[in-house]
């Protein structure tokens, strides 16, 4: 009988129910849409942040030795140590957060003398990966690859990138290129002198590109890691590794800790400043979305409350009649509460669907990216819609239960 009352009451008041559903739908769609946008943009933004560089630096642990005279410290020196190139793939194979390691780039540095025509310049020569395939990393049926093209996609290259198998290609920093008057296609000669043995090694390199970063890279030369290792005779060695970690659901510190666990002889440090800024911007974005959603849901709630109140006023005689023939307050309230729940469910589901369209539009028009529907947003949208509709029906339902049958039945 309860179902009959509900269905017939609904079909008898189609326009009122439609208004209530539309009110909930509007609120739910905005809330659901913003939630989808927040979720999607956080991921995209995280990846965008990664474009500005790595956020974890891995270096070998080294013992420091205090130097000075008795009572006077001159500071400390550290014994030079290296990270084994063979161990690098373990960075991608940490236990818990391996999926969040987007890439890494090792670096081996040496100071060389670079010569182009009559120009000489002492510069730092850095060997690294550009887009090196790492077959040790399990990656389905594909081969995972990493290098500076993944960890520092913000590099602006005039010319081309170096292929990892290229044993003579070099990318020159823009400052080095200016001083040596280099342009893509030029050849330079680099000479490395071992500071301990005094032995020298020379290589002829072809400039394939000029890099501009606005940082230290502008004053360096870059070659494939094996080239740098060969010049300085340090096979299988790197000085440091820059790691790019996706840090939406985990702090970068956790990835750093896992790397240290995997490679006990290294220390991994997160770039705090970048991570904090990232979290702050995402937090502010989330807060803004929540505030907008609350405002819209509040308006929806008020609309639902007004509609329900109007319905209660319109149905005063019906409520009075039901009470006069024996309906207690619980049964009267249950009719309106269940009606609100149904409105909330319909509005919530439709709002979720409309919210996906809104999110897609915002994603394309504001952030320039296509956002996919997020299934986990559905229960949240549904829950929020139900909360709003039930909350909005509290006052009207209370008014309904306070109707005095004798008063309304005599027409007052």
């Amino acid at each position: 009988m309860f179902l009959r009352i509900l269905t017939k009451s609904f079909s008898n008041r189609k326009s009122r129910v439609a208004i209530a559903v539309i009110a909930v739908l509007m609120g739910a769609s905005i809330a659901g849409g913003l939630l989808t946008v927040t979720h999607g943009i956080e991921e995209k933004l995280g990846a965008e942040f990664r474009r500005f560089g790595s956020n974890i630096v891995v270096t070998p642990r080294s013992d420091t030795i205090e130097v000075g005279l008795p009572g006077i410290s001159f500071g400390s020196v550290a014994e030079q140590r290296y990270i084994s190139e063979n161990d690098l793939s373990k960075i991608k194979m940490i236990n818990n957060w391996n999926a969040n390691v987007l890439g890494y780039a090792p670096f081996l540095y040496q100071v060389v003398e670079a010569k182009h025509v009559d120009n000489y310049q002492r510069v730092v020569l850095a060997g690294t990966y550009f887009d090196r395939e790492i077959p040790e990393v399990p990656w389905g049926d594909r081969v995972w690859s990493t290098g500076i093209r993944r960890t520092a996609p913000y590099w602006q290259i005039d010319g081309e990138w170096i292929e990892d198998g290229d044993s003579e290609g070099t990318i020159a920093g823009v400052s080095v290129a200016e001083k040596l008057d280099l342009k893509p296609g030029d050849y330079i000669e680099v000479t490395y002198q071992n500071p301990v043995s005094g032995a020298t090694a020379t290589a002829h390199l072809r400039v394939v590109g000029i890099v501009t970063t606005g940082g230290l890279e502008d004053s360096q030369l870059f070659v494939s890691l094996p080239v740098a290792q060969k010049i300085s005779d340090r096979p299988n060695k790197v000085h440091s590794v820059q790691v790019s970690g996706l840090c939406i659901s985990c702090p970068a510190e956790l990835i750093a800790q896992e790397i240290e666990l995997k490679l006990p002889y290294v220390q991994a440090k997160s770039v705090k400043q970048l991570v904090t800024a990232e979290a702050q911007i995402m937090g502010q974005l989330g807060q803004l979305m929540v505030l907008i959603a609350i405002a819209v849901l509040g308006a929806s709630g008020l609309c639902v409350m007004m509609t329900t109140t109007t319905t209660v006023v319109e149905r005063r005689k019906e409520i009075g009649l039901m009470k006069s023939i024996g309906a207690d307050n619980r049964k009267i309230a249950s009719i309106f509460v269940v009606e609100s729940i149904i409105v909330g469910i319909i509005g919530g589901v439709l709002g979720y669907l409309l919210g996906n369209l809104i999110a897609r539009y915002i994603g394309v028009s504001v952030f320039g990216t296509s956002l996919s529907p997020v299934v986990s947003v559905l229960p949240v949208t549904l829950g929020v819609s139900l909360f709003v509709t039930i909350l909005a029906s509290v006052l009207p339902v209370r008014n309904a239960t306070r109707i005095e049958p004798a008063v309304v039945l005599r027409g007052e």
């Binding site: 009988m1 309860f2 009959r4 009352i5 017939k8 009451s9 079909s11 008898n12 005689k317 019906e318 009075g320 009649l321 039901m322 009470k323 006069s324 023939i325 024996g326 309906a327 207690d328 307050n329 049964k331 005095e404 049958p405 004798a406 039945l409 005599r410 027409g411």
Partner: protein, 244 residues
């Protein structure tokens, strides 16, 4: 007529506000199985008296005992329970739920009281001659048919007492006669019937008539030496619903 008392009102007074006194020190006893007609001019307090008897309203002072229960001691929840178990209400305006069928309008009273039984509800409508109108909505029924649905709804929970407020007030003579015929049958089956009316012909179908004027019972055929002389009381003929 069974002589045991079913309704006992003692010095009942009802104020709606400080200046509006609807009933003034009314005392009344009604026996089980009795048919009492309440007459009086508009605004005299008839409907207020009826509302107090069926627990739809509370008196300002005095006591009301129905079927052994002191209504003034009950809260709203218990009053509602008492009403659905003991009293069948018939209204002048029928007060049917507009979006439910005749059958559902009867079943709704079952739903509020106990388990719904469509067969019993159908029989109740058959009892008032509406077996061919089960699925019709109130708007598809005549006034007389709506009132019969209202009677079937009042009977469905087998109440001890039927309380009717101007049951023929909105009906033509033919439909009024049908309704009164049904009420007469219910009374003959042993139910107590309390009926408010302006119509003396209808009032006279009852066993007892009381007249209410200005919130007081001014005459009672049960206690008047002239007995049925109440027939001669001057009652204004009002065809509209009592202002109460």
């Amino acid at each position: 007529m069974n002589s045991s008392l079913q309704v006992v009102l003692k010095s009942v007074t009802k104020y709606y506000d400080a200046r509006t006194r609807a009933l003034n020190d009314v005392s009344l006893c009604i026996s089980e199985g009795e048919w009492l007609s309440i007459i009086g001019p508009s605004g005299s307090g008839k409907t207020t008296l009826l509302n107090l008897i069926c627990g739809l309203d509370n008196p300002t002072s005095g006591s009301i005992r129905i079927c052994g229960t002191d209504l003034t001691s009950l809260d709203q929840k218990l009053l509602t329970k008492f009403r659905r178990e003991n009293i069948g209400l018939i209204f002048q305006q029928y007060h049917l739920v507009p979006y439910l069928s005749a059958l559902e309008n009867v079943m709704i009273a079952q739903y509020f009281n106990k388990a719904v039984d469509e067969g019993t509800a159908t029989k109740a409508l058959e009892h008032v001659g509406l077996e061919h109108r089960l699925e019709h909505r109130p708007s598809q029924l005549s006034g007389g048919e709506q009132q019969r649905v209202c009677i079937a709804r009042a009977l469905i929970n087998e109440p001890k007492m039927i309380v009717a407020d101007e049951p023929t007030g909105n009906l033509d003579a033919a439909n009024g006669a049908i309704v009164m015929n049904i009420l007469g049958k219910l009374h003959s089956e042993g139910r107590t019937l309390i009926l408010v009316t302006h119509n003396m012909a209808i009032a006279n179908q009852g066993e007892r008539i009381v007249k209410v004027v200005d919130g007081r019972i001014v005459a009672d055929s049960h206690t008047e030496p002239e007995g049925r002389n109440l027939l001669e009381m001057k009652i204004p003929v009002v065809t509209q619903q009592d202002g109460q």
